[in-house]
């Protein structure tokens, strides 16, 4: 049935032209130097202190917001889906999570500047009403901690969106059967609940990790490069702020790609496992 394949040719052409080719270009270009010859010079540059720091910061922030966002998102999901919680909470939270998960970037950064920045509303409130100036106590929004606080704004909703269906997939019958057989709530979670949910939880956390790691706009809007992060470094190279060496940008992109690919390789089998149990 060769004709059948014609139907999907446009799609594959498009994917090749605008996804695979650019991605491939990045991977290949990382190994070239300014004159176009093969070289690992740019790769070695990656190991310079500033880039190592950038990657380390990125990974750190991503891990923190993935785990923290994961735990908080999970708790909120449980709260929203628990017995006794009014039914309308779920669609409201889902819609809001959709908004918040997409709201990242420049506007989010500014929203937090308005809140916790040096002249932010909450900062002013704490200082004027409660006499506690957070900036005097060492806090600043334009730091790794600040970025983490801001990132949580889209990490937590993303976790909620991903984990809520998984929680839905947990059959009421398991809980009841467990109770019927004599198990307490705690025993249920330990033997059945958490093990069943674990692949989804891990998968979601990895998703959050990748999401935070790849984020550019929010960090840029917040710190403008003040905190060294991998995506920001790429931005600097591409906009010509640093030496005019596009291949360095590609080497950095390759580094990011490597981290994300590793995350993806962990994610896929976990997804499959959780899908099988939820059937």
């Amino acid at each position: 049935m060769p004709y059948a394949w014609l139907g999907v040719v446009p799609f594959f052409l498009y994917a090749f032209a605008f996804l695979l080719l650019p991605a491939g270009q990045v991977l290949v270009g990382a190994f070239k130097d300014k004159d176009g010859a093969w070289s690992t010079a740019n790769i070695s540059t990656l190991f310079e202190q500033q880039y190592v720091d950038a990657f380390r910061n990125s990974i750190e922030i991503s891990l923190v917001t993935a785990v923290l966002g994961g735990i908080l998102g999970l708790c909120i999901a449980f709260a929203a889906l628990a017995d006794g919680t009014p039914r309308w909470i779920r669609p409201v939270l889902t819609t809001f999570s959709g908004v918040a998960a997409n709201f990242g970037g420049i506007p989010l950064a500014f929203a937090f500047i308005s809140t916790l920045g040096t002249i932010g509303v909450v900062t002013a409130f704490l200082r004027d009403q409660l006499g506690y100036n957070i900036y005097f106590h060492g806090f600043t929004l334009f730091s790794k901690t600040g970025i983490e606080i801001v990132y949580l704004y889209f990490q937590i909703p993303l976790m909620f969106l991903v984990i809520a269906p998984a929680i839905d997939g947990m059959k009421r019958e398991w809980r009841e059967a467990s109770s019927n057989l004599g198990a307490s709530s705690w025993q249920y979670w330990r033997h059945v609940g958490l093990p069943v949910l674990m692949p989804s939880l891990l998968g979601a956390t990895i998703l959050l990790f990748g999401n935070a790691f790849a984020a550019y706009a929010t960090a840029y809007g917040l710190t403008g490069g003040g905190v060294a992060l991998a995506p920001l470094k790429i931005g600097e190279v591409v906009s010509g702020n640093v030496l005019d060496n596009p291949h360095l940008g590609q080497a950095l992109a390759l580094g990011m790609f490597a981290v994300l690919a590793a995350a993806m390789l962990l994610y896929v089998p976990l997804q499959r496992r959780s899908a099988r149990w939820m059937r």
Binding site: F11, P22, S114, M264
Partner: protein, 266 residues
């Protein structure tokens, strides 16, 4: 056992969540209402500044246009493809689903580097130097969302039966696609479209690094120059995303869509 009232622990979590998510918005609102002279409440001056700025309308319109173009190209490209895969080439589905995970590994920051390099220097001006360049990238960004939405929509209807029924009644491929298939995946397509709208209207990374002036880059520019108008812009941007998500919620509630699929749109 079903409780009659919300559990206290649930309530605590939901209240804390509400606080964390609403306070920044409220703060931004208050910020946006500050009078530029006195630095305190309350004035709509910031909003006035924004609406008077020609760049606001210009970039907003551009971003919207780009979003629409992205949606159109995405749907034209993906709906037939997903339909075809479900109908004739089911083994290809995992391949495409894997491709749909690629943008996760090749995020905007990486994609823009690749695209600038591949298409710089030789591609025609109408592509490389105009915002249409962004559309090419945006379709890729939207691809996973649109694909999974459409995929779910197609899975919910019996593609084979509908197609065969339509053809046995004498319809051509175009008629089948246009009058039978598409009306039944309307909801899924709409969800994908609205998500794409939200993504494009908020996309900063590629636009900024490829040096185009879209709505998000305009917001960043204002961020760096005027504080109170920036807050106003932030809320406007939030409102746009909110509108898109509400649209998805409403579209998903319509009695049309999946429930009607079995009636064949009749």
């Amino acid at each position: 056992m079903r409780r009659r009232f919300i559990a206290p622990s649930s309530l605590v979590w939901l209240v804390l969540a509400a606080a964390y998510f609403l306070i920044p918005l409220v703060a931004t609102l208050l910020f946006s209402l500050r009078d530029s002279q006195t630095g305190t409440c309350c004035s709509l001056g910031a909003y006035g500044t924004i609406f008077d700025d020609p760049q606001f309308a210009k970039t907003l319109w551009l971003s919207f246009k780009l979003a629409v173009e992205t949606v159109v190209i995405s749907l034209v490209l993906f709906v037939p493809t997903v339909y075809w895969v479900h109908l004739k080439l089911p083994r290809l589905r995992p391949v495409i689903a894997s491709l749909a995970l690629l943008p996760f590994v090749v995020p905007p920051i990486v994609l823009v580097v690749g695209m600038l390099d591949v298409y710089g220097g030789w591609s025609p001006g109408w592509f490389y130097s105009t915002p249409q360049f962004l559309v090419a990238a945006y379709v890729v960004l939207a691809f996973p969302y649109v694909f999974f939405a459409l995929d779910a929509g197609f899975r919910a209807i019996d593609v084979h039966t509908l197609t065969e029924a339509s053809q046995s009644l004498g319809a051509s491929w175009r008629t089948t696609l246009g009058r039978v298939i598409i009306p039944n995946v309307r909801t899924a397509a709409l969800s994908g479209a609205l998500l794409t709208l939200a993504i494009v209207m908020g996309e900063f990374t590629i636009a900024s690094l490829a040096a185009f002036h879209t709505f998000p880059t305009y917001i960043q520019y204002v961020n760096q120059t005027q504080a109170y108008p920036a807050a106003a812009l932030t809320l406007i941007s939030f409102g746009i995303t909110w509108f898109a998500m509400l649209g998805i919620l409403v579209a998903g509630r319509r009695p049309g869509g999946r429930q009607m699929a079995m009636r064949g749109g009749g």
